[in-house]
Symmetry: C2
Subunit: 244 residues, 2 copies
DNA sequence: CTTGCAACTTGATGTGGATCAAGCGCACTG
DNA sequence: CAGTGCGCTTGATCCACATCAAGTTGCAAG
């Protein structure tokens, strides 16, 4: 599972595909506007299936989705968490090799794939922006491999919570190193993202709570009283400018 | 560790950056030609260090290199194997978050990063080609996460050998499903790529040899008598058109 | 050929996380 | 407000892989 950086979105602007093209001029935006459509997907519903023809590419506007692959015997690995401003799809390919599934209700801003490919060809701005985003995603995916390949269960859970805290966390107005966020995934999904069983994921969450690294409210809300403490647990020697 | 697909290279052509731009016209190629330089790196030598300023981007011409991250306590994860035609570098960023190390003697075709960024901006061909390559790399990295997150040691080693066989293997002229290749990595590097210890990697290689899935000659040569058999071991339900 | 060493193999033992197995508690539903 | 069930927690046991520890082999340099 890799979580990319948040892109600059134009928060007040209904044209969320600014996530794709932050610097387009009015004509270019109008062109994107013409081929876009919105879609709302119910929690748990599939967005795309591996190996099935994909007519669209899309940007997540609200909600959360996961990219996952499932082996024949049922073992599942989540390889990415898609949050608002993330781009889903594969220009110049009919199919992708993973399933995309909504976790919560997801609103997508979709573009017809063929039309988007034409825009990519004709509008260097958009292609360059998408290249930069894809390079970020690739860095994130490569960084995440050390979590899956080399980290112990406690470190994996910590690294995961840290990445979510950086992407979703709201800092306490009085204590900026204290952040709060809502987990968009069940324990089972967390386990599938981290290459663990749900029992181990749950136990490590409990251990982190016992040790004061996190606090929890209900099933989903997580409070990190001290981001630096969590960062140590996650073996993260990074300044937070990057992804977790 | 992820291994990308082989790109179309212009084999007889000294301008190896055709890997970057397969369809450039003569003027565009001449422009690339002007900013390129070759570099030869000794086996084991670093090519780039994580967090150090990068002046170049490059394409691997011959040899093999790995992308790796090392935690403070020495645990190392290899997140990519770079082979001829692969692109190394991060346009629009001064640094990368992983080390790049030569395994064998590596010849690089380098481009000054700033100059390459200008070309990317001015030559949609090149940007589009690089975007397509980066999307392939991202798919490969995501596909690989299921190996690190969910596969047993024997499956990991099998998946790794399968990926190498597809990328490097020479088919037997009489028996096309029988392929031979040379391992560009030591057992330790294989272990670091698969999130295992070198002992476990070695034991699984021995087990696969005992079971007739592979044959070995010396330390590096591997013969796969039946690719389909290896594919089953690697839980690969794929037709081989994609990466392993 | 022989020497030396790094790379590899194999064996014995230990352990973290998987697996198996109960419960618990919160959020709907009637 | 009780009933129902899914999502979660916690405990007991097991096993695949890590760790520790010798050997062995292949290869390069003399």
């Amino acid at each position: 599972m890799a979580i990319a950086k948040t892109r600059d979105t134009c928060a007040g602007c209904p044209i969320r595909h600014r996530a794709v093209c932050a610097y387009c001029d009015a004509d270019e935006l109008a062109m994107l506007e013409r081929i876009k459509s919105y879609a709302t997907i119910a929690p748990g519903a599939p967005i795309f299936f591996a190996r099935e023809p994909m007519r669209h590419v899309a940007t997540v506007v609200t909600g959360a989705a996961v990219l996952s692959r499932t082996l024949e015997d049922g073992r599942r690995q989540i390889s990415g968490l898609m949050l608002p401003s993330d781009f889903i799809g594969r220009p110049w390919r009919d199919t992708i090799s993973y399933d995309v599934t909504a976790l919560s209700e997801v609103v997508l801003c979709r573009f017809d794939r063929k039309a988007f490919e034409t825009i990519l060809r004709d509008t260097p701005h958009v292609a360059e922006r998408l290249l930069s985003m894809t390079l970020d995603d690739l860095d994130a995916a490569r960084d995440w491999s050390v979590v899956l390949g080399r980290m112990a269960a406690r470190e994996r859970v910590s690294a995961f919570l840290l990445a979510l805290a950086r992407r979703l966390g709201t800092p306490d107005p009085k204590v900026p190193e204290r952040v709060t966020f809502d987990l968009p995934l069940t324990r089972e999904a967390i386990a599938d993202a981290l290459g663990l069983t749900l029992e181990t994921a749950s136990r490590q969450m409990s251990a982190l709570r016992r040790d004061g690294v996190i606090e929890t409210e209900g099933r989903t809300r997580v409070v990190v009283p001290d981001l630096l403490r969590l960062q140590e647990e996650a073996q993260d020697d990074d300044d937070g400018g990057e992804l977790g």
